[in-house]
Amino acid sequence: MSVYLELQHIRKRFGAANVLDDVNLQIREGELVTLLGPSGCGKSTLLRCIAGLADMDGGSILLDGKDIAALPPRNREIGMVFQSYALFPNLTVRENIEYGLKMRGIDKTARRRRSEELLAVVELTEKRDAYPQQLSGGQQQRVALARSLAVRPKVLLLDEPLSALDAQIRKNLRAEIRAIQRQFNMTTIFVTHDQEEALTLSDRVCLMNKGRIVQEGSPEAIYTRPRTEFVARFMGSYNVLSRQDALRLFGRVERAAESYAVRPESVVLLNGRNEPLEPGRRVAEGIIRSMSILGNVIRYDVEAADVRLTIDALNDGRSLPLAEGSPVLLALDEAQLLHLDREGA
């Protein structure tokens, strides 16, 4: 598939700080891309630049072959859903959904037809005459989604749409957004600071830090193969070891690198010293400092060779009877020792 939306060399400064520092991104039609990153990394600003709500200091935005960077927001054919919903409180649900159609001069019957269609999609047909304040947060966000889809935008931007909602509603709405996005084959950019949200939703994840995209790839790739320490720390509770740490723990390490990342679930805890060692496995001795049960997983905090490691074991009743303070053996496949580049490389 060809590129549908392309961001080229987007730059934005705010005073002396680079908010966006040469951002490049290509998105295919129908793809859902998440911009993931800590607050202040520039992801929301990037979204506002694409929408035309913020000015850029340089760069171009090509949508469907046309440069839209100089156009005002209303001519960009871009839909947006805000964290605060931004529904019009003086209009009913139906009037909210029809607002964009009305601004485009579409006649009443056609507006009605379209709004009924979308009310059905977001399952709010019964609430068509309610005012936004009478709806729950999740319902309001569904109205906002319907409102932005009503005008058939070329790209849909979602700016942390789930952050203001309860955990349960968030999960449901997340699945619903993904289903609707697939149904309409909607090219979508989803901004979030929640890595779990990004991993479950996206076709592709772009992890941002300090105004740059530091790594992009499929959820699978970005989770299992972090390239830098920042990515490793942000994407999960990776243990990041310096080369000295790794040497002290495992005696020798095949490949040289600045630092290494180890996923908590890839370390295996053994309590006997006489278990047979598979080739390529490294072993270290340690002591359990604390443990907590997260549900399906038990998380151990283990100290070994002056290094603190987080280790997850499946809570399936077959785990070792370990208590705080008890000594353990840690086993790790050398292949699970991920090599990290120097920061920013």
């Binding site: 709500l53 947006m80 605060s84 931004a86 601004m103 485009r104």
Partner: protein, 269 residues
Amino acid sequence: MDAPIKRTGAAPRALMLLLMIYLLLPLMATCIYAFARDWQTTVLPERWTLEWFGGMFKDLRFMESLWNSLYLCLIAVAFSLLVMLPAVFVITVYMPRLESLMKGLVVLPYAVPGVVAAVGLIRAYSSGPLNIAGTAYILLGAYFVIVLPYMYQGIRNSLLTVSAGPLLAAAELLGAGRMRAFASVVLPNIWPGVLVSALLSFSVLFGEFALTNMLVGGQIQTIQVYLYHRMGESGHLASAIAITYFVFILLLSALLMKLGQKVNGGLKR
């Protein structure tokens, strides 16, 4: 006590009662005095009359001063609304960095005492190109400055409560021009709040005396200036005027509170 639900203790109640008496007694006395004919040796007046009210309403100067106050305040508030609504909107939504400047500017009227302001204004505007001292124009200008804080705060708070920024962004992305977006999704939502600050400004101006008297007291009589002049003539008449004025402000305040409830209720729902 055998009451199952004890709401307030006796001491606070007594204190409240005392406070109410303290506050309301002068008002009661004024009210009674305004309706009294003979009131010398008895606790309550011996004979009642509507004469003072009749005389007041028959006095052309009273009606004129009431009318003066009414239209001057209305024009000043309308003018302030016309200027401040777009100005505060632009500053709050598009230039938030100017807000600190505005905040400082807007409390200046509090910092300058009325008399000082009046003397300064008369000096500045009694010669030169803008020779408007003693006219209604200088008064309107002064009124505009007096209500500045109320209008600024009221409009700004309304804009922030309805998060005008995101609303406007949403409307623009849906294809509305800025003016149309403002008229269709911002104005209807801030209107109740703006109306409250306009009414508040109106009642503040209606009760303004010091600045008015010094600026235009000789030329234009507002209700306050009139009240001041007639105070010495007859206590009964002054009481009647005071009571009429009080009832007027009471009605205005009731309207204000009603509107305020509507604003809050609308947001809570």
